[in-house]
Symmetry: C2
Subunit: 458 residues, 2 copies
């Protein structure tokens, strides 16, 4: 049932398989336009975007030509920048403007945002004035705000209506969203006072009053709220949609959970890429662009290690006398750095998920220091013993153990305090905490180890 | 509007604020049970869970006693293990079993899964036999499968029904899910042949045939499909719910997007924690437990750095003669390690998001090697020059530059090939790729740098 007549698996379930892509490629070579359309037709826009990305420029051009009649511009929002530009170039402005004006307002807005300046301005000009006005209003909200995410067409009914009146109204009305999952109940000032899932309207007798089956009383997110916070509200309250209100509390739109899934994905991606210090999310970007994007973070690594090298160079005499110090010193830095990154990751995640409730801060700092002491004892003992046996020198083992102990406790302290401090100053800890931390664990690790060695072993 | 009469902000919007938690705490001290109930009543279960976690054991006990009459057991699913056990202990088995039997089947199943063995068995015994049978059927599906996520009560109607017949049926029927967003259209063998959003039933005249307004024809995910793959299907097809089918293709349940939001969160968390090599997600776990969980990864770091130390020790003679080698060697390893981790993160993300479509593998490997050459050239030049000036030795600068160049190209190659290979063998690259990679960049980095130095500088 999930296979089409040619035996290819349903791309909605599997995503694009190698077999499917190969089939499309060979048809593009043949120029078998009908078959190409048949293959592309059942694809969701994310899959079609993947397909476009996996083709080369010439193939991509042919595919777009084959399906341009039915091309859903939402696909553009899923494309990497470089590929999007190529595809957009194949449509003329009027065609693109007409297609976008057919989308729901949130999708249209999102798409307009992803276009480069030149195309955006041209497309906006070519649109019906009314739709352009709606987009311009949307663009007036801050980037990544609820106002940008929301869809403006919502179903709002007064609470004194009955189920029957509501159904009659819905059957009659034009200009409602295509599909919707909740109705919003509003007061005479158009302020949301409750939400009714559509299924309740279906299941209740015609004479039931809407106000009697509504829930989420008086919930409404301000249009200028940041999208991450909106996502958090969906998560914490298990919502399917939420009304958006203006400064006066009036209903101006609604956000649905499918948009929130994208926000959550984006957020997770940002944290992940931030922690690994790579600004890059586009695996299909040119090598030169990727290389450039990564350089700033590599430069920070370089400065960090040069600082560490300067510390080491202060102890050249000690190293010359006891060359074992050079052999063992990377261990102190690496263990501190890794232990610290574990703490930072947990903290970044806790801050992102808002797990760290008020008053929990000191408890978490204290806990991580204790964890540092515990693991410091374990690994200092293990590595101190190994070093003693390896170099036949108990004092060297003790110095190594002390330095490791110090650095792992430091990792627990710095691993909590650095992200919390950055967060307090509204700097994204996912991105900035790692470099800060490893600089301290490297510099302090080398300094304490080589310093103790100079003092006690020479 | 979003403030209650006491001026506290709406916790549904803000999550728990410090002021709110302080207010609850002081009422718990006073024993003002009515006020505590008023404060707790509007909280969603995620917020109530956060509140329980932020209290100490004594306060937690009092809060549970105050609200036990209306306690929603779904809250338990949001608690960290240690806190959950404490709360569960405060209910007797019969009470807990009755509360769980009132939940929808997917929530009940999820909750039962989170209980420890002792409580799970006791609670299952205390349940009505019919509900126990449903849970047992659910537990028979593999962990993290669609069968575990799905809700068994779904609305299924034949395609030849009209909108009017469907509404009449819904008004009449008992045992339907509380709220639902899609109806499933089934054929005589109970196989799903399409999906109808509830809003379409509301908006169309009574005489419209259901088959004429359905979409997503024939889409159904197998009950044993992994939840990550199900999440991917939701994302790619922008679904709100999806029918789940058994091996014969018959409709057995449905998964809704709110459960998928949790799966996406879990997935992102796993990738993030995996990359940072910490198995920990529970910031409130005891220090001993946290310390233990992190030890396995720190042990891997230790083994990795010991291997690197062994390589260094082979070159003790060279270091003794040119102590600048000890000063510079951490730079080679750190730059290779960081460049490689950037590549691995992008790869892990691409594999998780299934961005890496068929045939793209070689292209990505090639690209990352080119990026390695580009950034290798940049940083080898910079650092080679710095080393030359610092130690007044051009040969030393050239040796450092060559080693850095080698290690950064290696990082591009290993950073792509290692995660792809692990993925091929079904090993999670988020967790395993990092240690593999940094071992190679450390060991090879030191070996090439010190080896070149011994050959050309001594």
């Amino acid at each position: 049932m999930n296979r089409d007549e040619d035996g290819l698996p349903d791309p909605r379930l599997t995503g694009l398989t190698a077999g499917f892509v190969a089939e499309v490629r060979s048809r593009l070579d043949d120029g078998d336009v009908d078959r190409i359309r048949d293959l592309a037709e059942p694809l969701g826009h994310a899959d079609l975007a993947d397909l476009l990305e996996s083709l080369d420029t010439r193939e991509r051009g042919r595919l777009v030509q084959a399906i341009r009649g039915t091309f859903d511009p939402t696909v553009l929002t899923e494309l990497d920048d470089s590929v999007r530009l190529e595809v957009v170039e194949q449509f003329d402005t009027v065609e693109l403007a007409a297609a976008i004006a057919n989308l729901e307002s949130d999708d249209a807005l999102y798409l307009i945002e992803t276009l480069d300046d030149v195309h955006r301005i041209a497309v906006m000009q070519a649109m019906p004035a009314a739709f352009r006005a709606i987009l311009e209003q949307g663009l007036a909200y801050p980037e990544s705000s609820a106002g940008r995410l929301m869809q403006r067409d919502v179903v709002a009914v007064p609470g004194f209506w009955t189920v029957g009146e509501t159904i009659d109204f819905l059957r009659r009305s034009q200009g409602l969203p295509d599909d919707f999952y909740d109705l919003f109940v509003v007061d005479p000032a158009h302020r949301p006072i409750g939400t009714v899932p559509t299924s309740r309207v279906l299941r209740n007798p015609r004479e039931t009053r809407i106000a009697d089956i509504m829930e989420d009383r008086g919930l409404g997110v301000p249009a200028d709220m940041d999208q991450e916070q909106v996502a958090d509200i969906f998560r914490r309250n298990d919502l399917v949609s939420v009304p958006v209100v203006d400064a006066a509390g009036r209903l101006v739109g609604a956000i649905t959970v499918d948009d929130i899934v994208d926000v959550i994905d984006e957020e997770a991606e940002e944290d992940l890429l931030g922690l690994a210090r790579t600004g890059e999310r586009d695996i299909y970007a040119s090598p030169l662009r990727t290389a450039r994007r990564r350089q700033s973070w590599l430069l920070i690594t370089l400065v960090n290690t040069i600082l560490a090298s300067i510390v080491i160079s202060r102890f050249e005499g000690a190293i010359q006398e006891i060359v074992a110090l050079a052999v063992l010193m990377p261990i102190v830095a690496a263990m501190g750095g890794n232990a610290g990154m574990q703490v930072i990751t947990v903290m970044v995640r806790a801050l992102a998920a808002r797990d760290l409730v008020a008053g929990g801060t000191w408890r978490v700092i204290g806990k991580e220091v204790v964890v540092g002491v515990m693991n410091g004892l374990v690994f200092a003992t293990v590595m101190g013993t190994i070093a003693t046996l390896w170099f036949g020198d108990l004092s060297l083992g003790l110095v190594l153990a002390s330095a490791m102990m110090f650095n792992m406790v430091w990792a627990g302290l710095a691993g909590t305090v650095i992200p919390l401090t950055l967060d307090r100053f509204d700097i994204d800890p996912a991105v900035a905490a790692g470099p800060f931390l490893t600089t301290t664990t490297d510099v302090l690790g080398f300094f304490v180890f080589l310093g103790l060695a100079s003092t006690f072993l020479l």
